[in-house]
Amino acid sequence: MIHLDMVGKAYQMGSETVHALRNVNLTIESGDYIAVIGPSGSGKSTLMNIVGCLDTATHGRYTLADHEVARLSGDRLAEVRNATIGFVFQTFNLLPRLSARENVELPLIYAGMSKSDRRKRSEVMLRRVGLEDRMRHKPNELSGGQRQRVAIARALATSPAVLLADEPTGALDTHTGLEIMRLLEDLNTEGTTLILVTHDHELAMRAHREIRLRDGEIVHEEIR
């Protein structure tokens, strides 16, 4: 499914080269549940962005579902993000003007789905995350946990194969965070590949596989 071969990301800062990521070899199979941990600045988000086709590697090869990502055009990358990847962000990133339902419909719009299909699909997704009675609410009328649920419903709307969650519980209290984790894990049980970035060792323990980054390199990997 996901295959990284000597992948690196370097930034040129004046005369200095900053390696946000280097020599990353990683293979993730469909249905995996992986936790990425590591100190701040170790390159976790950079890795997620590359896997999610938001960013491109400066070194190495990245193949996603048999596509060599470096060869894809901007429009194709947008399509891949739309169809194959679901993003869940630490800060939710819901559009404040749109209702919960309209937020969930966004990726479906870019997928070219008709309005009536979108309405059905967004309702199913919001029901799936337990927010069927909050569909008309704007983000600022929802609690943090509810917002993250909307964001998850949105990430799932196009039935992506991979769910990328970059510290999804970082802005939530422990209890709500655990609820969100359970929801994500349920989705993984149903077959979605889940890649989770976290600082929390306890949360990382729940994953099938754990990858530890330091200074842009994988320093430890364990399978449970």
Binding site: G52, L54, D55, G74, D75, L95, R97, I109, Y110, G112
Partner: protein, 408 residues
């Protein structure tokens, strides 16, 4: 799939406009004012043009004037010819009439000078014109009461007179029947046979008309004519007719060319073209001044759109992460700019039309809103939206998704 998401992007931009009506309204204001001024200033220019052209048409249709002497100015009709030495003759008049029915419809000689009128104890200073019965038709200046003199009066050098409306008012009490009354022109007695229609110009309303033969005997003492008014058979033959008249009269006057000739021809068509040309330039000038305000409006849109793109950087990043292509983002912001500009344009058109209507209704300022100017104004506001919205939309679409998502 592409088309649907583009349409949805357009729909989202509509929502975003509706979501901040005050800002959108203020943004559209510049274009609104620009378009309103284009519409009303062009209408004003057109109105002036129509008015001048209309006045010119009032003088008669398909009118050519042959004058004695060297060319003096470009006036089609000169109100007083007493300072011109007459050089046009009966032979010239017949040569003009002989140009044939395909070219010429009617021709009438005319000489004009100032005269003093007297009726009972009242006096009036007027212009007196000696002419023939064709004159009312040629000059589109007809009697409303009584009958204009006919050829027999000309042949007999009768002392009959047709008086202008203003002359009637000055000499007679309202309601008095002037027909058959005797008035004095420079002391000589004339019988009133007709009152001419009111034209609204002193040159005609404050004039009297008498047979040319009587004029020559009593007023000028000269057998030549100061001018000959000619009605062409059709507006399409006016220039041909002018050429024929010039050729024939040069031959009769034994002159080589129009340079230094002792007559000249003024053609209504040429005057009309000149007037419309001048008015057209005037209109264009007004339109370009107004066009500048349209451009200023466009810059306002660009400014706000750039601010809007910056404010919504994170939104753009989120949309890109969710699968928006560059063109989806472009369309969203471009549509927003175009909608604002076009809405401003439509309201501006309405204001412009209302403004020129009000100018006519309350200040009698002639103005004409043409469908062309409305379509042009609409088209320009669309272009302004595309042009000035283009850069901000392009900027939005070129954002790097990660940087956009990180934007605080």
């Amino acid at each position: 799939m592409g088309r649907r998401s583009l349409w949805e992007s357009a729909r989202m931009s509509f929502r975003s406009i509706a979501g901040s009506p005050v800002r959108s309204g203020l943004t559209a204001l510049g274009v609104m004012i620009g378009v309103a001024s284009v519409i009303s200033l062009v209408a004003l220019g057109r109105g002036a043009q129509q008015e001048v052209a209309g006045n010119l048409q009032q003088l008669g249709s398909n009118l050519l004037m042959v004058y004695s002497g060297e060319p003096r100015g470009t006036a089609l009709v000169r109100t007083n010819t007493s300072n011109i030495r007459p050089t046009l003759t009966q032979t010239d008049l017949e040569a003009i009439r002989d140009a044939g029915p395909d070219l010429v419809n009617l021709a009438a000689p005319a000489s004009t000078s100032n005269a003093q009128l007297q009726f009972e104890n009242r006096n009036a200073a007027v212009t007196v014109t000696g002419t023939t019965p064709e004159y009312p038709e040629i000059r589109n200046f007809r009697p409303v009461y009584g009958a204009f003199f006919d050829q027999s009066h000309v042949d007999a050098r009768s002392s009959v007179v047709a008086i202008g409306m203003q002359v009637y008012r000055e000499l007679f009490d309202a309601g008095t029947d002037p027909i058959g009354r005797t008035i004095r022109i420079n002391g000589a007695s004339f019988v009133v046979t007709a009152v001419m229609e009111e034209k609204g110009t002193a040159a005609q309303d404050n004039s009297v008309l008498i047979p040319i033969s009587t004029y020559q005997r009593r007023i000028s003492g000269d057998s030549a004519y100061a001018m000959i008014a000619v009605q062409a058979a059709d507006s399409s033959v006016m220039r041909d007719l002018q050429a024929v008249i010039e050729e024939n009269l040069l031959r009769l006057h034994r002159m080589p060319s129009m340079d230094g000739a002792d007559f000249y021809v003024v053609n209504q068509l040429d005057l009309l073209a000149t007037v419309e040309g001048v008015a057209g330039t005037f209109t264009l000038m007004l339109a370009s001044i107004a066009g500048i305000s349209l451009i200023v409006g466009g810059i306002g849109i660009m400014n706000i759109m750039l601010v809007s793109v910056t404010e919504r950087t994170r939104e753009i990043g989120v949309r890109m992460a969710l699968g928006a292509r560059r063109r989806d983002i472009t369309v969203q912001f471009l549509t927003e700019a175009v909608l604002i500009a076009v809405a401003g344009g439509i309201i501006g058109i309405a204001i412009g039309i209302a403004g020129s209507w009000a100018a006519f209704r309350f200040a009698r300022i002639a103005s004409e809103v043409t469908i062309t100017s409305v379509l042009m104004a609409f088209g320009f506001s669309l272009l302004v939206g595309l042009f000035f919205g283009g850069y901000p939309a392009w900027r939005a679409s070129r954002l790097n998704p990660i940087e956009a998502l990180r934007y605080e």
